[in-house]
């Protein structure tokens, strides 16, 4: 659900792919007006070009990608060629009527365009500028080429993820980009509060790698206090056991169980009658369990393997023991708790796509503020007229001229739309495909799913 907290706050968004768009999606869900700028030569290809509805790229593939829809719902989009001087002049006009600008180019780009903070500030002294990058905007490595594997890999997160005797594991869902974007939103929100109180703007420098380190405080502190350089430990916990992800009945089904206290353990063995070996007195104490984890995990798995993962959760939750199945994307989309909480908002994406549930990027339920329905993600250049004419006072003729000069455009230069290689996904077992997904979704989100 989206809420009107930041009404009247306007953010210019020069970001692309995941990290930056996460930041501005958070702001958009909280009621700010976000204006996303793309150019016809440089649209947000990565998210626009991936995973089309029913695997059909259609005739305008740039308006159909699911990642783009999810990350950009609630924003406005214009096309503006920043490489042209005329484009930059218009950008400067926009700066005058905005609270903040956020960008995630490599550090030299804005400076080369004459749009570094020093010069932006002269145009609008109240403006906030947020630069999002991998390693930050100063220092000897600032120009490193890096994407999410760099944010995760260079922070210590990857080294601490995976099984101890296996290679370090990167996240399967670009988590480092999320951390970067959410921390950029944190910084921007903080600067907006300061701007509201004092009227002052400022420059904000977000390094995704540094933000990720901040989410590893306990591991970093062990290094500081004990010179102990921790390594990945699978699903185990340094302080208690059992703590793991156990195989359940079915194909690729898993449940996570965490037993924190001796009394939880007592209740656990009382509930499960076999294998008998779990009743070993040596397991009664936390220290005893920590000492024999491999054995313990095997025994517990003998119990879980014969059970459905949801049954395990319910049985253990009745005993007040933390347990939860590892839900896949299907089970997330159809989860009764998330649905009841309003985690998803059904948004109509228009012709050929229809309604699809969009997950919240700031899933806080706020009471005391007006709610509003999030607009679908904008088509390429959809808000040109609103921004250039209504906000900046240009005429229709001006727009036509800009289009002729290729400063603005209605369609981007775009690679041919290609369906996802479902055959490869299946061959490489990279995931599971549910052919009945539309029917499943309609049961919960209504018949409008997939129909415009």
């Amino acid at each position: 659900m989206a809420y009107k907290l930041l009404e009247g706050i306007r953010i210019i968004d020069l970001t692309m792919v995941f990290a930056g768009p996460v930041a501005t999606k958070i702001l958009a869900e909280l009621g700010a007006e976000v204006i996303k700028i793309e150019s016809w030569q440089r649209p947000d290809v990565f998210t626009r070009a991936n995973v089309y509805p029913e695997n059909n790229p259609g005739t305008d593939p740039w308006n159909r990608g699911c990642l783009f829809h999810s990350l950009n719902a609630g924003k406005r989009a214009i096309s503006l060629n920043m490489a042209a001087e005329e484009g930059r002049d218009i950008f400067k006009q926009l700066l005058k009527v905005s609270n903040a600008v956020i960008e995630n180019y490599s550090p030299r780009v804005m400076t080369n365009w004459g749009l570094d903070y020093g010069r932006i500030k002269k145009i609008n002294p109240r403006i906030i500028m947020v630069s999002v990058s991998g390693l930050g905007h100063d220092g000897p490595l600032k120009d490193y080429y890096m994407y999410v594997p760099g944010m995760e890999g260079m922070s210590g997160l990857t080294h601490n993820t995976g099984n101890p005797d296996e290679p370090p594991l990167l996240s399967g869902f670009a988590y480092g980009d999320w951390v970067t974007g959410a921390n950029a939103a944190m910084a921007l929100m903080t600067a907006l509060f300061h701007q509201k109180i004092t009227g002052k703007g400022q420059y904000v420098d977000v390094s995704g790698r540094e933000a990720t380190i901040c989410h590893l405080g306990d591991i970093v502190l062990d290094c500081i206090l004990n010179k102990r350089d921790r390594k990945r430990m699978g699903n185990r916990h340094p302080g208690y056991a059992p703590h793991g992800c156990y195989r359940c009945k079915g194909d690729d089904e898993w449940v996570a169980i965490a037993i924190e206290t001796d009394s939880q353990w007592k209740r656990f063995v009382r509930e499960i009658h076999e294998p008998e070996a779990l009743r070993d007195q040596a397991f009664a104490s936390r220290q005893g369990r920590l000492a024999r984890q491999t054995e313990l995990d095997c025994l517990i798995e003998q119990w879980t393997t014969r059970r459905n993962k949801f049954e395990v959760m319910e049985a253990l939750q009745r005993l007040r023991i933390p347990a939860g199945p590892a839900l896949n994307m299907k089970e997330i989309n159809l989860n009764p708790h998330l649905m009841k909480r309003g985690f998803f908002q059904c948004v109509n994406h228009g012709e050929g796509i229809g309604n699809r549930p969009i997950p919240s990027q700031i899933p806080a339920k706020l009471r005391g503020f007006r709610k509003f329905a999030l607009r679908r993600a904008p088509h390429f250049g959809e808000d040109n007229e609103y921004v250039f004419c209504s906000l900046l006072g240009m005429s229709k003729q001006d727009l036509e001229h800009l289009e002729q000069e290729k400063v603005i455009s209605r369609a981007p230069e775009f690679p041919p739309g290609r369906p996802t290689r479902v055959d490869l996904l299946e061959k490489q077992q990279a995931g599971c495909i549910d052919p009945d997904y539309l029917t499943e979704l309609r049961k919960h989100f209504g018949v409008g799913i997939g129909k415009a």
């Binding site: 594997p149 890999g153 206090l225 390594k231 916990h237």
Partner: protein, 401 residues
Amino acid sequence: MSERVFNGVKILDLTQGIAGPYCTKLFGSFGAEVIKVERPVKGDITRGMGPFPNDEYDLEKSGTFFYLNANKKSITLNVKSKEGIEILKRILKTTDILVESYAPGGLQKLGLSKKILRKINSRIIVTSISAFGKTGPYRRYRADNLTVSALGGTVYPMRPGIQPKTRPTALGGYQAEFSTGLLSYIATVAALIGRANSSRSVSIDVSMMECVASTLMGHIAEYSYLGFSRRTNPFAIHGYPIGYSVPCKDGYISLTPGIGGAPNIPFLINEPDLQNSDFITDPRMRMADPEGFDALIIPWLMRRNKRDVTAEAQELRLAFTPVLSAGELFEDQQLKARKFFNTTRHPRLGKIANPGPPAKLRGTPWLPGRAPLLGEHNREFYRGLGYTQREIKKLHSAGII
């Protein structure tokens, strides 16, 4: 010329653990006055959690507590006693934001229902952080970082690209907790900004499971558009093998070979003849055969260490970066140049390095600060509240503070 963002903003912190304290740490480090209420004698549960210097248990020396509670004032108070709750109500009168992490219904049990809170202070913002939120079928369920990550969907896709059906392993550390603390902070600051637009009292209900699910971003929609549930970061979805870690002589490199200069790979591995091969020019060839791609570069990587590989690859605009351990961060020239680690002084831990800020706000500094000792601010705080020295002693001997 720089100033603290939350000068004069008062926060009453009734959280413990990781998520709640991380939220209020962000407030404290940007200059809010955070009053952390701890249980007498034992304090916050993270005081009992390591790492401790030399692994010697000491409530005043937990590294986790130190990291999560910088720039707060600690007072002890038995909130389950009648006097305790009266004191809490007095504090609430001048509080801007209450942050709490009781199980749903916990505040009511203390006698602080929404109605009573509103009566005490009509302008207060109440941020509640819990595993599943205050409503919904799971609201009474128990969770820890691992089990809530599983339910939030971030455990299932945690498998290596070439072994997508192996046992999933959660992200290292406490990512569910930190993500939740961060989003709670963002929502609370937004409420501070938006409060002027609302005449009603404001409450915020944050669920850790939802925060975890939101870190999946658009990947959730791969199901509603294609019926797809990823088990890993698929090589086949983005048109090239996406980042994964490959071995080299002294560790691992994480790389994204498809973006930002894949045509330069032949030059990196000194096989320029390969530059016209389909494997290099067509990402869709690589995606169909990730093992073939590995076979091409791993022999070359295995003869070199990660620093040299990174330096050479970066010269060629290839997004190769080293996989670093936490220990290696302290020698990282970039972090040094950016002064990422601050030094603080703690009465029991001595001079100690402190990571941080998560973002650099140039006009409003981040206070490195330190965590308080248990009840360190009792005297100052209760005197400020109007209690005499004698009354404070009495509360102390009654076990209330």
